[in-house]
């Protein structure tokens, strides 16, 4: 055992301690980096060499590799949890917007206006010979029709807003897919030399976590460590060197037809043209759900309500006699189709121009005849909706309650999902998170090791000096 060897051993200790201190400082400086996993230098004792027969004397320390402390299983769970969390958060937001449109709890809303509409007909029944009451029947009808319009256009506004968000999310997802693809390549190149691309892997995990917040994906790792991503139900998003794209097709709304016609999603990774209904989960899935289920159903039901009121009031009103003694006309403008009835609901031209065209009675020359007014006001209590199962009031109240149920359920799930995500984050932090206190302690530990190794060299140097001095 030569003294220079001892120096060498000391040097290896210093190198190792320096590497550890560098890694520790890397950890500390990344304490707040999203998705960072703390790293640790794996070191091992260098092979001992035989010395003077049987004695094996160690050669110091060698650096094996730098590991990141990370559990892929938890990462995957976090990915799923954050997908569900983003899904619920996005849904909650969209439903809150929808719910706000039905400002019924404040007291002013369609519910009240519909009651007012029917009550105006009750007033007309009290005074069928009065023109002023007819004016106020007309005003209350306008107020009701306007509120139908307001609801309709507010819901369309929400839907447009959601469309814009979906478009934004799709392009974000596209750019993340490209980044993951690039990271795949970089990791492969870096790891060809045998090292561990820890930080790149952390980055890729973070990107994957982000990517899975947009929709449901499945992943598998290929033999080179690259991650391939499939969008569930659609097809590949990232495979090897290729990243597919999600394309949003928006044709300007033509004022007619269903929203699906003016908005659709395509993927370059899927032969079929329209993947709008194939995307599930995540933010995009949430927005599509709200848009195509909640909003569409709300609009349909509003349309049904508007068209039922229009048609049933018309069919009674036509049988009546105007204040001029002529045959009754339509009260509302006739609607050809149920579609968009809530938007097009309006007074007929006759009634809009002249309140005396409103019919209260069924026979001519009988100004006290109030039977038509009574019959119309009775529609409020009749089961005219839902194939004769529900009254107009109950139908609308059910609609409001349904929106509330969906929003309430989402909010509850959101709270639960937050807890789950927090729990998982805690577990991940437990493994991968940086504790400054711990790193500080480590730093001191490595500093001591460094000091001691330096001391070894100094001692070896002194020894060597002593040996050299022997000759004098």
């Amino acid at each position: 055992m030569a003294l220079p060897n001892v120096m060498q051993t000391g040097r290896s200790g210093m190198v190792a301690a320096k590497a550890q201190m560098a890694t520790t400082s890397h950890n500390i400086s990344n304490a707040n980096t999203e998705g960072f996993s703390r790293q640790r230098v794996e070191q091992r004792a260098d092979n001992a060499i035989p010395h003077g027969g049987k004695n094996m004397i160690g050669q110091g320390v060698g650096l094996a590799r730098t590991d990141r402390l990370n559990d892929q299983y938890i990462e995957k769970q976090i990915r799923n949890a954050s997908r569900d969390l983003s899904h619920l958060e996005e849904k909650d937001l969209a439903l809150k917007q929808t719910e706000d449109i039905f400002n019924e709890m404040g007291g002013e809303g369609l519910n009240r206006l519909v009651s007012k509409f029917f009550n105006e007909f009750r007033k007309l029944a009290n005074e069928p010979d009065n023109e002023a009451v007819r004016q106020s029947v007309r005003e209350s009808t306008l107020a009701m029709a306007n509120d139908f319009k307001r609801l309709h256009s507010s819901i369309e506004d929400v839907r447009n807003h959601l469309d814009h968000r979906i478009e934004g999310f799709a392009s974000e997802a596209n750019s993340i897919a490209v980044q993951v693809k690039d990271l795949n390549l970089k990791i492969k190149v870096q790891e060809l030399s045998g090292g561990q691309a820890n930080d790149l892997r952390d980055q890729r995990d973070t990107m994957m976590k982000k990517l899975s917040t947009y929709f449901d994906v499945s992943t598998h790792t290929d033999k080179d460590g690259g991650i391939n991503v499939d969008i569930k139900g659609v097809g590949p998003l990232i495979s090897g060197p290729n990243a597919e794209k999600i394309i949003v097709d928006r044709t300007p709304a033509d004022g007619e037809g269903k929203p699906e016609n003016s908005f659709s999603l395509r993927s370059t990774g899927n032969a079929s043209n329209d993947i709008t209904h194939a995307l599930k989960g995540g933010k995009i899935g949430a927005l599509l759900e709200v848009r195509d289920q909640t909003l569409s159903s709300v609009l349909d039901r509003l349309d049904e309500m508007a068209s039922t009121i229009t048609n049933s009031v018309n069919s009674i009103h036509r049988e009546g006699i105007t204040r001029y003694g002529t045959k009754g006309v339509d009260f509302f403008k006739t609607l050809e189709v149920k579609d968009r009835a809530s938007q097009y609901m309006a007074l007929s031209d006759g009634v809009a121009n002249d309140a005396n065209m409103i019919a209260a009675g069924a026979v001519a020359n009988a100004s006290g005849d109030n039977r038509i007014a009574v019959a119309i006001s009775q529609l409020q209590n009749m089961r005219v909706m839902d194939n004769g199962n529900t009254t107009i009031d109950a139908f609308y109240n059910g609609l409001v309650a349904d929106v509330g149920v969906v929003a309430g359920r989402t909010r509850n799930s959101l709270v639960q999902q937050k807890d789950i995500t927090m729990q998982l984050d805690k577990m991940r932090e437990q493994i991968s998170g940086v504790s400054i206190d711990e790193e500080t302690a480590n730093l001191l530990q490595f500093q001591r090791a460094f000091d001691a190794s330096a001391k070894v060299i100094s001692v070896a140097d002194q020894c060597l000096q002593t040996v050299l001095d022997l000759r004098r």
């Binding site: 019959a375 009775q378 309650a401 927090m422 493994i431 504790s435």
Partner: protein, 339 residues
């Protein structure tokens, strides 16, 4: 267990957010005094709240309808009572003038003039108006229902008003039912058919199939027993002619008929009275229902202020202690002890 700094800070953030979220909700409740501020706060309850509100608005209308109907019925009743007085007075005159003992041609001639006056005021009473509306004209409320020669030109329309959900009461008495003792026999005025709301309640029609021109009931009226009809205006005329011509036979004949008319008028007054009773009962029950609804609505919708305020105070304490413990948790690091 390892506790990273992120866990610490995350915990602090989460605690503060949650407490603040709960405080915000309580603050909304205390600002609006309502615990249901959006449908999702209580979907089933909110649907019920809307139902109650509709009931409330409708009940107010029903109460208003009741008041109007009551006013018109009261007016009709006082008109009928006046008409009844006229009939009694006419009968008294007829009794006096029917016998030769207390009357002669001269007295008859003298009271004939009084009967003419009574005839005029009977027509006037029959054409009683409230505002612009003739109350005894059936649906024909815009013209006098009885002409100067005592002919009824109204119809038999019954103006139904809704005084409670699906409860209808006619607020008028068509004149021909009052002026005739047996209106089915005389040539009836235009038949208005049974009112649409009655058909509707019977479930025999949907609005789409509604027809206002159907005239059920006419056949039934004709098929009834053929009793003699007496008309109040005709009878007054008969009495006047009897007096003018000093025809004691004719005068005597009117006696029984005036009785019939008087009992007819009385039965109509009783009918009106029972309608008014019905209205009052209905109004009372609506008012009771309003109170019950208000209680239920308040229970569903209104925040319990004592609860909200005490919860708010509690949350504030929680919030303060969270902040305090956070301060303690985040302050020290190992660094500070290594100097």
């Amino acid at each position: 267990m390892r506790v990273s700094d992120n866990t610490n800070f995350g915990l602090v953030r989460e605690t503060i957010n949650r407490t603040k979220g709960r405080m915000e909700k309580l603050q909304t409740q205390s600002a609006t005094l309502k615990k249901v501020n959006t449908p999702s706060d209580d979907p089933v309850g909110s649907s019920k709240i809307l139902e109650i509100r509709t009931d409330k608005v409708n009940n107010e209308q029903f109460l208003m309808n009741s008041k109007l109907a009551e006013a018109q019925l009261n007016n009709s009743e006082s008109a009928l009572s006046e008409l009844g007085d006229i009939v009694i007075r006419a009968k008294e005159i007829a009794i006096q003038q029917a016998s030769g003992a207390s009357a002669n041609d001269d007295t008859r001639l003298a009271v004939a003039e009084e009967i003419t006056q009574m005839y005029q005021s009977a027509i006037g009473t029959a054409n009683r108006r409230i505002g612009d509306r003739y109350v005894f004209g059936g649906f024909k409320t815009d013209q006098p229902p009885v002409t100067v020669d005592g002919k009824y030109v109204g119809d038999d329309g019954q103006m139904m008003v809704e005084v409670g959900r699906d409860v209808f009461i006619a607020m008028n008495i068509p004149g021909h039912e009052v002026f005739n003792t047996n209106p089915g026999v005389e040539d009836r005025p235009a038949d208005m058919g049974s009112s649409p709301e009655l058909q509707m309640r019977a479930g025999t029609r949907t609005p789409a199939s509604y027809s206002a021109t159907g005239q059920p009931g006419k056949e039934a009226g004709k098929a009834g027993p053929q009793a003699e009809n007496v008309n109040v205006f005709e009878e007054l005329q008969n009495l006047r002619i009897g007096l003018l011509t000093s025809d004691t036979e004719t005068i005597r004949n009117t006696l029984d008929r005036f009785d019939q008319i008087h009992s007819r008028i009385n039965s109509m007054r009783a009918k009106i009275g029972s309608r008014i009773n019905g209205l009052q009962t209905m109004s009372q029950s609506l008012e009771r229902q309003n109170i019950t609804n208000a209680q239920l609505g308040s229970h569903l919708e209104d925040a319990d202020m004592a609860q909200v305020v005490s919860d708010l105070a509690k949350e504030e304490t929680v919030f303060r202690s969270a902040l305090q413990s956070s301060g303690k948790l985040l302050q020290p690091t190992l660094m500070e002890f290594l100097k």
